[in-house]
Amino acid sequence: MTLDLAVIASNWRFLLVQGLLGVGAFGGGTLALAIPTIVLGFVLGIGVALARLSARPWLHQPASLYVLVIRGVPLVMVVFWFWFFIPIATGVPLPQYWVALVAFVVFEAAYLGEIIRAGIQSVPRGQVEAAGATGLRYADTMRFVVLPQAVRNMLPSLVTQFIILVKDTSLASIIGYMDLTKAAQTVNQREIRPFELYLFIAVVYWLLCYGMSQGSRALDRRMGAPARAAAETGP
């Protein structure tokens, strides 16, 4: 079976510019989805972590339930839920991008929240008490003392989860979002050369994820590998 690299030569621009970056007539884009998800997921994850650690049951219980349900269900399910029911709930024909973004942020925040929670718990209680003794309120303690240390402790696990997140964005192709995977499927419809096309995008994903993991290792070395707490990692 001969390899036909011409199909890559004539379509790589579409695959990378439209599929990876999201620049083009179809919107979409793997990075255009992944980067905002990382940012928003991280922010929501902090909220989830704090809620789970809160003593107030009206914060603690919904947060725990949310994490329990999200972690017990495949990402594909969560995506289908949001895809079918966001339009009903909001009454507005939301562009696909926003549906995908919300679904991914809600999903990843559950996992990121757990990592951050473990990070917060790894900060010695003495720090919190000392902060309280100097007159800092809860919010300021969190912002200036606990969270920075928590994030520093959990940085390897967080970046690991970010890499998982980038891989997870490939599932957006299932609902028709024009990411790298969907772009390859689109070209394959015409050309019927699955091996070459999927191998190409596998290489692109590989460069992206391996690059991120190498960057994470470099970051690790520079920061002196602080205590690795018991964060469970996601899919």
């Binding site: 079976m1 349900v69 972690r71 017990g72 269900v73 495949p74 990402l75 594909v76 399910m77 289908f80 839920w81 079918f84 029911f85 009903i88 709930a89 909001t90 009454g91 696990s157 690991t160 989860q161 890499i163 998982i164 891989k167 997870d168 490939s170 599932l171 192709s173 299932i174 995977t181 499927q185 394959n188 699955p194 091996f195 999927y198 191998l199 995008i201 596998a202 994903y205 590989w206 994820c209 391996y210 993991s213 690795r228 707490a229 018991a230 964060a231 469970e232 990692t233 996601g234 899919p235």
Partner: protein, 248 residues
């Protein structure tokens, strides 16, 4: 408050979930999910144990081989692997092999291969962390009693490591179970596929998705419960690996 919008009033009809043939479809879907999970797990465990152990041996070459396997397979999304195994690999196989696959449920084989090899790479990291967390004195002691390196691994290190890694192993097993849903993209009729099937026949999306969600929650709770019992029974007091988990 959600804006009332639908001109089409959604009429709930939960009974479709247990009327035939939809109820039967769901059961078939669950069986297929379990089949994918178990077969995938067996393959992943075998690959993970071998390559994980290989990553801790003195030989740089062997460590490198293990490293290549892990780095290649875990840095590419599982969905892409599914397509490569199902559509891509047969393209380069000889015609006779393709024929055989087509006659023998090639979809399932490809899905199991994708799941097993991908999660094998992740399990290899878990096993590696487990072995590396065993104090080196154990290995030295084993070698000093006259065991060869391979025997030391097989009889001492790996068994201990397996008992240590139950928590991250549980996590990975759950991930494998959830990832089995991706097989729907290559026409494997597992649970999520069946919920879409029911929905396309009956237009009752809410009921179908709820059924699917509850099934996965149930399966995950089941697996967690079983693994928790196992952890309890095989735990070595004072030596639980909690971190160094599956990486990505």
């Amino acid at each position: 408050m959600p804006r009332p919008f639908l001109a089409l009033a959604y009429q709930f009809q939960w009974s479709i979930l247990w009327t035939s043939p939809y109820g039967g479809w769901l059961l078939q879907g669950i069986l297929t999910t379990l089949k994918l999970t178990v077969l995938g797990w067996v393959l992943a465990a075998a690959l993970g144990a071998v390559f994980g152990a290989v990553r801790t041996v003195p030989s740089r070459f062997l460590r490198g081989v293990g490293g290549v396997y892990v780095e290649i397979f875990r840095n590419v999304p599982l969905l892409v692997w599914m397509f490569l195994w199902y559509f891509g690999v047969p393209q380069i196989l000889p015609a006779a092999a393709q024929e055989w696959l087509n006659r023998h449920n090639g979809e399932l084989i490809a899905a199991v291969a994708a799941l097993g090899v991908y999660h094998g790479a992740r399990l290899a990291e878990v096993v590696r962390a487990g072995i590396q967390s065993i104090p080196s004195t154990q290995l030295e002691a084993a070698l000093s009693t006259g065991l060869t390196l391979t025997q030391a691994y097989r009889l001492v290190l790996v068994p201990i490591a397996l008992r240590l890694i139950v928590p991250p192993l549980t996590n990975e097993s759950l991930n494998l179970l959830k990832n089995s849903s991706l097989a729907l993209t290559i026409s494997v009729a597992e649970t999520t596929f069946m919920t879409r099937q029911i929905e396309s026949y009956t237009a009752k999306g809410f009921e179908a998705l709820t059924a699917g969600t509850l099934i996965y929650l149930g399966l995950c709770l089941g697996v967690s419960a079983v693994m928790a019992r196992i952890e309890h029974r095989v735990a070595i007091p004072g030596l639980i690996v909690r971190g160094g988990g599956a990486e990505h």
